[in-house]
């Protein structure tokens, strides 16, 4: 037994030497991806993973990322955060300390991105969240950036749109108090709506996992509201809209939503019930420029589905990183120095042209970029562009 053990150890030691002596290819950069592969919103995780892989393949196919005259191949390390805050933080810790990634891309939903961003900031590893719109993701966290716009802007756009478009003064909100993104959206909407001179007549909530909204919807119907804001994700929206239709809520009340609605699955789950509703989002496919169209076409050929904005934003996050690496100038091989250099490179980006629009980060790491309002047409299976709103504040 002992002899076998010794033999095994010798073999292991030899194999270790063998790998150490193997000829090294071009140097590798490890990029960590923290995605919602399982849990309530698996479409988001899949889109994030697909787009990150596509961008990495593109960069590698072009010979790799050139930094300071040296070529580097990108290697992705993908971790599943199960759409749980604690798993997102654990995945971030693992990616940074164990896998030793140079940069952390993800997480996407704000409830996961906020704990992950605290870990990244603590361990001083740059992070780009593709899809998290909550202010707390980047607030007082110099190491954290995002590829999307910020919630206070998005909810403000929604309040203004709801008021002007439907000539309304009475607003209502129905949102999940258990989810960071939804919670802040609900309050931001209320604040802006009231600041613009309107009145919030129903401010209704539920908690994550609830399926029955009839009590709240009946209350909203009774309140005399003209616009109902539903800042929820695509897996809950169909339930809410269908119950609203059944209760006759939608006869008088216009339902509007936020970017969590955007997913090819929305129409699959909601069908004709969602037709004609509006929501704000990161891009509108039908007015997209050449670069975006090329991305959409390539993504569709590769994965067989239309990309949603998570895919576009993750793709942009990867190229934001590439741009930051170029801004950085050179990599030393010392992880701490290189991570700092990439962080500074991200902060130095100006007017970056991505597939989801032109973006410049603020001091806080938030992107200044425009928001699009789209109208749902599930019969045709598309979200049609309706309006674009340029960046501004609603303070």
């Amino acid at each position: 037994m002992l002899r076998k053990l010794i033999l095994l150890m010798v073999v292991l030691a030899l194999s270790g030497i063998a790998t150490a002596c193997a000829p090294t290819g071009p140097a590798e950069i490890l990029v960590g991806v923290n995605a919602e592969l399982t849990g309530a919103i698996p479409m988001v995780g899949a889109a994030c993973k697909n787009a990150a892989e596509m961008a990495a393949e593109e960069i590698n196919a072009a010979g790799g990322l050139e930094i300071g005259g040296k070529k580097y191949k990108i290697k992705l390390v993908i971790a599943d955060n199960e759409n749980k805050p604690e798993s997102a933080a654990a995945a971030a810790t693992k990616l940074i300390t164990q896998d030793k990634v140079l940069i952390h891309i993800g997480a996407n939903a704000s409830k996961n991105a906020i704990p992950a961003s605290s870990v990244c900031n603590e361990l001083q590893c740059p992070m780009i969240s593709p899809w998290s719109t909550n202010p707390n993701t980047t607030l007082y966290k110099p190491w954290v950036f995002r590829a999307c716009f910020i919630d206070s802007f998005q909810a403000g756009v929604n309040a203004q749109f709801g008021m002007e478009e439907f000539n309304a003064t009475k607003g209502a909100v129905l949102f999940d108090i258990g989810s960071d993104a939804c919670y802040y959206q609900g309050f931001f909407f209320k604040n802006t709506w009231e600041k613009l001179g309107g009145q919030i007549v129903a401010f209704e909530t539920f908690t994550t996992g609830d399926k029955d909204f009839t009590a709240q919807l009946t209350k909203i119907k009774e309140s005399g509201a003209e616009v109902l804001y539903v800042p929820q994700y695509y897996d809950e929206v169909p339930l809410i809209v269908k119950q609203a239709n059944r209760l006759g809520v939608t006869e008088k009340i216009h339902i509007i939503g936020h970017d969590g609605w955007e997913s090819p699955d929305l129409c699959k789950l909601c069908g004709a019930d969602c037709n004609g509703l509006y929501f704000t989002t990161h891009w509108a496919v039908d007015i997209a420029g050449e670069k975006t169209q090329a991305f959409i076409k390539k993504y569709k050929e590769k994965y067989g589905v239309d990309p949603d904005s998570v895919a576009g934003l993750t793709y942009d996050a990867m190229y934001l990183f590439a741009k930051a690496a170029q801004n950085c100038g050179k990599l030393t091989g010392n992880l701490a120095t290189d991570r700092k250099c990439i962080r500074d490179g991200l902060a130095a980006i100006k007017d970056f042209e991505g597939v989801t629009g032109t973006m410049t980060p603020t001091e806080q790491g938030d992107m200044i970029k425009s928001v699009h309002i789209v109208k749902i047409d599930c019969d045709a299976g598309v979200f049609r562009w309706y309006k674009t709103v340029q960046p501004r504040t609603f303070e």
């Binding site: 698996p42 009590a215 006759g248 789950l269």
Partner: protein, 302 residues
């Protein structure tokens, strides 16, 4: 007034589904003195099986123009059959060998629940599935109150099933044996009743009700996923305890009470306090009557 009526209908709809599932907890407890914590996940299996059964029937029927009502009935029966088979094999593999060890069998029940969830996750994947309704939806307006066909069917079918169950338990020999076992487990085998048969029958009926509950739930909330049974299972379990676990009428009443309390708490108080208030009410009920509303005081045998 219309507002109150509307909320009342919402409550009856929710309560009917809770009651159907609560019956499963209550019946199994009555016969075996054990809480089948996998029952919520059996309900989930029922929802998925009825989804696949409806797909199958639609495909087989092709363009034969079978009315939706028949597809509804057919998929309900198929789902009941499939769910009963699942529940019976669970009972045989995991519960029967452990029947003497009351604590262990609760643990295996919890384990079976997790097993069913992840089994479904592996088979269908994490994607949300949209349940295509088998009822042609129409919203009826009665004095300002909106009642949809779906709601009517849910309420009607669940009350019908409960009446059938009442009949089985009250009027048949097997039902009498069930009641006898729940009254005195030691004496019943002496009367020549095969306890195993009755246990099997109880599990079969309980899972049939869960399957029907799954189908109806999927019509009310038409998105199904592998974890949908957890919360509903807990709430049905609570309903059963509040009504008096082991008593069939108690489970029915408990389901409706929970439905009413949840809707009323959301309708009267700010909705963020809904769960807080509804569960405080339930705790108060239990403080006043620890064995549940229809529950009998515990008999201690000396």
């Amino acid at each position: 007034m219309t507002y109150v009526l509307q909320q009342l209908i919402n409550a009856i709809q929710l309560g009917s589904i809770y009651a159907l599932i609560a019956l499963g907890y209550s019946m199994v407890y009555g016969v075996l003195r054990f809480i089948n914590f996998a029952h919520g996940d059996i309900f989930m299996v029922g929802a998925f099986l009825s989804y696949f059964a409806a797909l199958l029937i639609r495909r087989l029927a092709g363009s034969a123009g079978i009315p939706n009502a028949l597809i509804f009935l057919g998929s309900m029966l198929l789902a009941m059959l499939g769910t009963a088979l699942v529940a019976l094999s669970i009972e045989k593999i995991a519960y029967r060998p452990l029947r003497k060890y009351r604590l262990s069998v609760v643990i295996t029940a919890l384990g079976m629940g997790v097993f069913l969830e992840h089994m479904t996750l592996v088979i269908v994947g994490p994607w949300r599935i949209s349940f295509q309704p088998l009822i042609s939806e129409k919203v009826h307006k009665v004095a300002g109150v909106s009642i949809s066909t779906t709601q009517l069917v849910i309420i009607f079918v669940s009350i019908l099933l409960m009446l059938i169950l009442e009949f089985i338990v009250r009027q048949t020999k097997q039902g009498m044996a069930m009641r006898a076992i729940s009254y005195d487990r030691e004496a019943v085998p002496l009367m020549g009743v095969n306890v195993d048969h009755i246990v099997t029958l109880t599990f079969a009926i309980a899972s049939c009700l869960a399957a029907a509950g799954g189908l109806l739930y999927a019509h009310a909330y038409p998105i199904i996923e592998p974890y949908m049974g957890i919360m509903v299972g807990w709430k049905a379990f609570i309903s059963a305890v509040v009504g008096g676990i082991g008593v069939i009428r108690g489970a029915m009443l408990g389901g409706y009470i929970l439905g009413f309390v949840e809707i009323a708490a959301g309708a009267i108080f700010p909705s963020r306090m809904r769960d807080l208030i509804s569960f405080v009410v339930l705790m108060l009920v239990l403080l006043a009557k620890p064995t549940g509303i229809f529950g009998l005081p515990l008999r201690q045998k000396v």
